[in-house]
Symmetry: C2
Amino acid sequence: MTDNTKVLLKRQSTGIPVADDFEITTAPIEAAGDGELQCETIYLSLDPYLRGKISGRHMSGAVLPGQLMAGEAISRVLVSNNAGFAAGDIVAAHSGWQSHPVIEAAHARKLDPAVGPLSTFLGILGMPGLTAYAGLLRLGEPKSGDIVVVSAASGAVGSLVGQIAKIKGCRIVGIAGAAEKCAWVTGVAGFDEAVSYKSGDLRKGLDRACPDGIDVYFDNVGGDMLQAAMERLSIGARVVLCGLMAQYNSDEMPPGPNPAFIIKARATVRGMVVYDHEDLREEMVTEVSRWLREGRIQYLEDRAEGLENAPRAFSRLMQGKNVGKAIVVVGGE
Amino acid sequence: MTDNTKVLLKRQSTGIPVADDFEITTAPIEAAGDGELQCETIYLSLDPYLRGKISGRHMSGAVLPGQLMAGEAISRVLVSNNAGFAAGDIVAAHSGWQSHPVIEAAHARKLDPAVGPLSTFLGILGMPGLTAYAGLLRLGEPKSGDIVVVSAASGAVGSLVGQIAKIKGCRIVGIAGAAEKCAWVTGVAGFDEAVSYKSGDLRKGLDRACPDGIDVYFDNVGGDMLQAAMERLSIGARVVLCGLMAQYNSDEMPPGPNPAFIIKARATVRGMVVYDHEDLREEMVTEVSRWLREGRIQYLEDRAEGLENAPRAFSRLMQGKNVGKAIVVVGGE
């Protein structure tokens, strides 16, 4: 039997995390105790919120140097000591960056592989999916005909936000960086327009794509992108603050937009934390998986092969170099 | 018969307006045309939004040099050429800084002097009253037991926000400047706590007054006060952005708080413009005038005597030196 490969945090990094901030170790695979599941990891999810855990700033807690790096993963159960699970079951759990986790059954969610491709349970059918679904529909309150703008539009959350808004009858503008991301957003995901912030003309691009202003802005970035969108809000606009990619790698708290933009537009700005919307998960999985089967939802994955490549892939993600949902393929399906 | 005394804008000021930015002139009193009312002004209202009109920035339009200075006033009808009004009626209208306006009947609102003291129709029963009532109850959604913080707490809007919140069962903290304002806020208006931003310890004061955070923040100021409040929001907090006293005298658009504060608190931030809430005016007058008769609402006026003192009083207001609703007594009741 192989060992358990683990990726530990080696040091608290400042700035963009690099592969050297992590350390790969092996240890014997642990046995499952009472009520526990011995598993093998299939897919590991890399998400921007993990950056906050490394610096101890995230609300879900810190990862300290020497500790196993945190993250959600899809695993196959090898041994079950809980009546609710059997060997061969597929589960999702926050089991971290390791190849053979032992998971408390109470913290594992059994997945139905018939619902969608396994890896999508880390993306559009998982936490990013719930973020997009609840953030847009509950907090963004899109109405048919609304102009909806979303930043990080090719990302796991952004791409789904746009596509759900499209299904709801909105006109969708995505902000992304690289040309290939913009091309995917309009060419594959069906956005009406893509605006590149890398063209140096974010504001002109937005003016061209949204001459009548923005009704819903779903923000995954903060910084200047939030500022540019705030300058263009229509009366009664809704802004969903969901992510802060522009500042995750920094310990600074840079200032935000002047409050006058919110007053002028009589806008409603809401902060989004996905943990508050667990009640919508079942509805989200039902709806999004149906749209997926109907071919109305496209998704993009940025896959790294092998747990040993997780640190490098995470560094890429935190530089915005990923194209689509960042996933590490740890074991075979 | 006396002349019509008028105050014109002499020049677009930068920074804090001074008396010299205005010019006092007299002209013969105009006759009322068809459908018009010839009136004599009793009380003129001075409000911070007028600062934006002088610099052409306010959504209700600009006042240009040489033009009559704008503002709402309470007047007595001398001659009526409209069937809906009679000589002796008391009306409110945006008739500007003049002693004897001719007002289109369609733009005049007849007041019932039995409802409350006449000057309160410019304050707690007028536009500031509607701002406080709709802003707090419709946008702030206070619940009994909530910690409600309001800035410019001795002002026309702020003092009413606090007192309505108190009636609704909240714990009220007011932020004000001068010691006499703070004393009025707690000693007369019944706020639970007053925090002085002039003590240089705004943050410590807020921490002392709101150890469990802020559930509703009603902001009339912006700037560092908004920043300090944002740092202390409770989960699910509502922020009403109503005024920007900190930047009215400036042409700059200084940055605002980092969006992370809104996300962390899952807060809802709404921009308030009183014009959107006209549908609540009747309810507001009914409710607030009842509370006033019941002795549950206190109000404070900062009165200047004579139209010629309006420029100086406006300058005082824009320096935050007024204590209570700024009113100019133009004629006798």
